[in-house]
Symmetry: C2
Subunit: 294 residues, 2 copies
Amino acid sequence: MSEVHFARAALIGIGLVGSSLAHVLRRDKLADHIVACARRPETLAAVERLGLADTVTRDPAEAVKDADLVVIGTPLSAYAEIGRRVGPALAPGAILTDVGSVKGAAIRDLAPSLPPGVHLVPGHPVAGTEHSGPEAGFAEMFRDRWCILTPLPEGDAPALDKVTRLWQAAGMKVVTMDPEHHDMVLAITSHLPHLIAYTIVGTATDLEDTLKSEVIKFSAGGFRDFTRIAASDPVMWRDVFLNNREAVLEMLQRFTEDLTALQRAIRWGEGDKLEDLFTRTRAIRRSIIEAKQA
Amino acid sequence: MSEVHFARAALIGIGLVGSSLAHVLRRDKLADHIVACARRPETLAAVERLGLADTVTRDPAEAVKDADLVVIGTPLSAYAEIGRRVGPALAPGAILTDVGSVKGAAIRDLAPSLPPGVHLVPGHPVAGTEHSGPEAGFAEMFRDRWCILTPLPEGDAPALDKVTRLWQAAGMKVVTMDPEHHDMVLAITSHLPHLIAYTIVGTATDLEDTLKSEVIKFSAGGFRDFTRIAASDPVMWRDVFLNNREAVLEMLQRFTEDLTALQRAIRWGEGDKLEDLFTRTRAIRRSIIEAKQA
């Protein structure tokens, strides 16, 4: 793995992923200058306090000026507007990448605004925690996880190579994939699990107050793992579901059919069906442990 | 907290919970003699290899002979038969408790077989991991978790006190509760989360093979937390659903309604509804962290 280096890296949106990347850039001295851009002054104050950037700004156009690397790390709903604002300010030859969880929507909202000579490399580092904001970031978050890049057919090969090496420097294994395929895979591995976790925690919050306090007390029986997932950033996740609607609805439909079948098995006391499924699901866990993703 | 001590503790069924309790009994010298009973010779061989018991047997009646403490830790479907077999062999004054996840069913299946003078104290230490079998146990599993006891109205107060002190010695906080109420609380905090985790992992195993290998690879996005839960013991969980049918179906019905509402919000692009829910669920997570159950 050869070194990768940027003169000026602009991080547009600096939450959990953006700040973790800033830690990596700092640690490995991968950029001469880091500029962080966020909408909220509190965020920029935190970035300055943590020393995550050399300069900060609320203006995306100012942030990307002279940058050879631009990384968008905002919720997806901000992409189109950011694209419009940074497009005219981007330097020829600049690489623009992102870390968003839906790649079809990222391309749809960014590509039209980019001038010729600017290289779009859509990306998704599949790593995170339930915490958000610049204080939550840490360089090791990416270690041994996968990063999926979804380059355009007409994309620039050297730009793809540089973004690949950037995430490799962060400790990630990098693969490329079709954006539509990415969105389908993530619908089942990430979007549907989050939707379900949000739902069950919501179901519990609607219980009568006395029962609710007991739910918190006895959450160690399984529920608390769902609350961790359901503590993820609300705006980011709202945008994921709005922007990966078809794939999420398709996986949700399959899930609902399977759940209905289990419900029926419980109602009719069909123990064999339950045991069969519960035995099959154990095998998937073993595969994940073997793939060192546990 | 005063000391609790038993002359002879019989552990009927020695999986994750039974073996963890054996570690506690050993560590704190809470029993002069520990006898372990299991159906499968491999299990008893493991118990002997691990030094978890002084004697082992496949015969529940032999195990409980002269025991002043009997702890049933088998799947729920074995309870009625165990009750029938140990009933005539139990010593007067013996305490019989269990660790099963459904208390109504535990009482239904055990109480009729017990002779007068034997004290039934149904219990449920709410602690565990996704691993099973005697190799999986460890004394610290119970530390700072809750144990729910569901004593019968006519139950013996000194027996309840001894079982309370047993779990306190294991590091647990002990509460008593009505068995029906226990089964309702656990339906939402434990049984439904497991059912949903099993379902989504099952949905993923039914995907085409190429997609399935990617699900494993990219599981860090949320899915892997579900696979951990869905790796729990299949027979134990089959029995939980069959024996807590009404409460599970009731909670499942609420969950399904909530999921359908979210599905509709996604289909119609109602971002506000999604964001509202996702913000509310964060608060529950904070409560769990504050309650030190995270």
